[in-house]
Symmetry: C2
Subunit: 519 residues, 2 copies
């Protein structure tokens, strides 16, 4: 028996094995497709490529368009290929790739983003495909195996694969034989519709409340295709000085909170977003004073393996292993060690307010920018240009025990090394409100906003977080706005509304947000 | 035994009975005070009044200032009296009253607002009074009785009285003998700190998971004062044509969703905010086609009694009975009928994401305004002037099965009956983001935003919700913003950022938001 056949324990399904090319006739223009995949691991690879080849070869650009509902990002090689062939119409809820981003921002792709836990749930409720009565025409799932009864053994991510399997009319399964079977790593709970929802009885990060398999009606599986393409993974550059300074502020803050009795000695379960600052924070914890730490998050990055190796991290719950190629190799080489300390959950559970609040997660995420009153922009540069999507940041930040956002205080523009300040008077797009965030951090310092009124918050943020080159500009804004608003008794949150985006205008016209004054 | 003594079943506490005036020495300038009270029911009345009298008589204005942490609003007669005597320094998380509002907006009062469920929880975590290590110097609680072991029987609201009782160093209890004992109406669960939090096992609106009493160390009770002041309640004006039109759109929408199979025949538990539109919606349901309806909300208003009377409402869970004087009389006159169908919960539970998501609540709230991409402003007029506070709107809207916001399409300015449009290009303050809201309604129509990308949302909102006098202005904004942004590949959510508040500027300068063009 081939490796592929061994992975498909339900023998009757062996007759559905076919080549990627053989699946092409299942796809019709305009279909709603659900895919597995998350940050970018566990997404289908060979069937989407075969379909792209077919469209290209037959000049079907613009005539084979699809609505894609996926957990989060997939590999840019597929995302951009599909976009460049005009194959992507709707795209929810997150994307990475230059071509697709350009189309999202010029009207070519209809993208939407929503808090991941809500998105997954709303997929199950049929809200995104109302016209067809909910669900998907076709689901594309990468799996590492199929059980005796046809249930699906997923791979290195879950995302919303559960909802896709449950609500697709028909399924194409890619069995990836280049990765080991991930059997046993998943804790699968399906999304029920109210009034039939049940409590998610997770009181510790390592509690299991489901099954290792996604239940699946085998009659829905119309094709099984072998894939030998491992996840390309995501490598991170080494932390820079700015990221390390931010991480140091955060670890100092944790120590202060432990001393004050507001955090246990082993902290509370940590969530950290994607990217280099998150990586530096985990790197700092590897060196840091805390033991028996736990993680409740949506992505496990490479440094988390170092954290396990250090003996300081006890357990991690996630919806995805977002490792580099080398990281996956480390995982496979020490399978029992790592997998004994990890569980993967559907993103509807990993990102659900219920366990996040109960466990008291400490959430840490990077925005594009935040403002002096504590609102943050995570998605739209200049208020209009989509980068990737909101992802799970709102799920975690809204429900965390402590909500922390961290960013460098400035970024370079084309002509000025500090041409963009990441702390502004008013963010031009709000993803997280002043009612959601507790702590803001830049390399300059940390502002603890808990219990402060907006004006106290503003002074704290300007004093602690703003880059020295922007401090006078921001201080002048705040004082003048306060003066003008108090005069009219309209100054709970003082602003000069009709000048509020003057720094953004300066960036557009002069290449820097440094303005001479607020006149 | 007096009525008061009968209400205090723990006899040893009778010796703590004193007059309101006798409690004055317990108050020191700068204290952190926790109070009971919610929308404005169940707040302490005689002690705050006695303290105000004392301050006034002794010219202590500005020398007796306090930080007030309360569930939500209290009676304006107390709130404004305290503010006018400069007795209010910090004030969380919601207020009503002309005097206090003016001070919130001119720097006199340091107000902060946060989602009510988080606020209550964070009180218990000690986040708002970090300087003193958490908790309150003194708690002021209105109760309807005290049990044999000193536990507290609250009155017509709970709010955060549970957290205040748990975390106050000392307590003053006002026993209100003008109201009946509310014994048995409450389902009390205390807020534990992670990692010791437990699941809230509520799967039906009428599930009880706690005790009827708030546990209390009797040694903390330093004074018991009799109050004979009934809650003044909140009367609502009869619904106007605009509110009724909005209600009609919503009931049509419910019927459509039932037909589509996305809602059960008896709907899902309803939350409706405070005010006249909410009242009209409930009024519409009283006449409407749905039976066996349930309510999961934070305030029960008068029309909810009509809803019970109609036989169509089975059960209601709330944290407060926000009835008028006449409404309370109806309640008292038919006590067994109504109280058999009602439970009051701490606002940390009534507003908690866990039961809201599990039950699949349908949330309906009124904002100040919303924008064409689906962000809503609930708190700050013109982006700077606080009205009341965010209240529980974010708790419900973020976690609901369906998130609905409703507002008249316009409001009058001083010189123009439609001088203010409640649908704008960009709200000047965001309390609820595009990632949170499903449905927006004005008397003009209903926009179902589920599954739409931002640009589709904009067209839907402009077509369905905008007042005819503003439609050309908004349509021009959207089309021009799209054209300009697409040219630069920055148009996921098209805006003309440097003109975006032009309508607000016109209102400030010319008294109307009607502008001739966007040049």
């Amino acid at each position: 028996m081939s490796e592929l056949q061994q992975r498909i324990r339900k023998k009757s399904l062996h007759q559905r094995i076919m080549s990627a090319e053989d699946t092409i006739p299942f796809f019709k223009n305009g279909m709603d497709l659900g895919w597995s995949g998350f940050t970018p691991v566990g997404y289908p690879k060979v069937v989407p490529e075969a379909l792209a080849d077919y469209v290209e070869k037959n000049n079907l650009q613009g005539k084979m368009r699809f609505n894609l509902f996926i957990g989060a990002s997939i590999g840019a090689e597929i995302e951009d290929r599909w976009a460049s062939l005009s194959m992507t119409d709707k795209r929810w809820p997150y994307q990475t790739g230059n071509v697709v981003q350009k189309q999202v921002n010029n009207g070519g792709v209809r993208m939407g983003d929503k808090h991941l836990s809500l998105y997954a749930q709303d997929l199950a409720y049929g809200f995104y495909t109302k016209e067809r009565g909910g669900g998907f025409d076709l689901g594309l799932i990468e799996a590492s195996g199929i059980t005796e009864d046809g249930s699906i053994i997923l791979g290195g991510s879950i995302g919303c694969a559960t909802e896709v399997i449950q609500h697709s009319d028909r399924l194409i399964i890619e069995i990836n034989t280049a990765i080991p079977s991930f059997e046993g790593l998943h804790d699968i709970v399906m999304t029920e519709r109210p009034p039939y929802k049940k409590p998610y009885l997770i009181s510790r990060v390592d509690d299991r409340i489901g099954s290792p398999y996604v239940p699946c009606d085998p009659d829905k599986i119309i094709a099984i295709v072998e894939s030998k393409k491992p996840d390309r993974g995501r490598a991170l550059s080494a932390p820079d000085a700015v990221s390390e300074q931010i991480a140091a502020h955060i670890i100092d803050f944790f120590q202060f909170e432990v001393k004050a009795g507001r955090l246990p000695k082993n902290l509370l379960p940590l969530q950290s977003g994607v990217g280099n600052i998150a990586n530096a924070v985990v790197g700092g914890l590897v060196q840091g004073p805390f033991s028996n730490v736990q993680v409740w998050t949506e992505v496990i990055q490479d440094t988390m393996l170092d954290f396990f190796d250090s003996g300081k991290l006890d357990f991690a719950s996630s919806t995805s292993l977002s490792l580099s190629e080398g990281g996956f190799q480390r995982l496979y080489d020490n399978w029992d060690f790592y997998t004994g300390k990890v569980v993967l959950r559907p993103m509807q559970i990993s990102n659900n307010p219920e366990p996040i609040r109960r466990l008291g997660v400490i959430a840490m995420n990077t925005p594009v920018e935040f403002d002096i009153y504590g609102h943050a922009n995570s998605t739209l540069v200049g208020g209009t240009r989509m980068i990737n999507g909101i992802g799970g940041s709102g799920d975690f930040l809204r429900n965390a025990y402590l909500s922390i956002m961290h960013t460098p205080s400035t970024r370079p523009s084309k002509t000025d090394a500090n041409g963009i300040t990441c702390v502004v008077p008013m963010v031009p797009h709000v993803d997280h409100t002043e009612h959601d965030l507790d702590v803001l951090v830049t390399e300059q310092g940390l502002a603890d906003l808990r219990g402060l009124c907006p004006r106290e918050r503003a002074q704290q943020i300007i004093s602690k977080c703003v880059h020295p080159e922007y401090k006078p500009i921001m201080q002048e804004y705040y004082e003048r706005a306060q003066r003008e608003c108090f005069e009219q008794n309209v100054g709970h949150e003082p602003h000069m509304l009709f000048k509020v985006f003057k720094m953004q205008q300066s960036l557009a016209e002069k290449g820097t947000m440094k303005i001479p004054n607020w006149d």
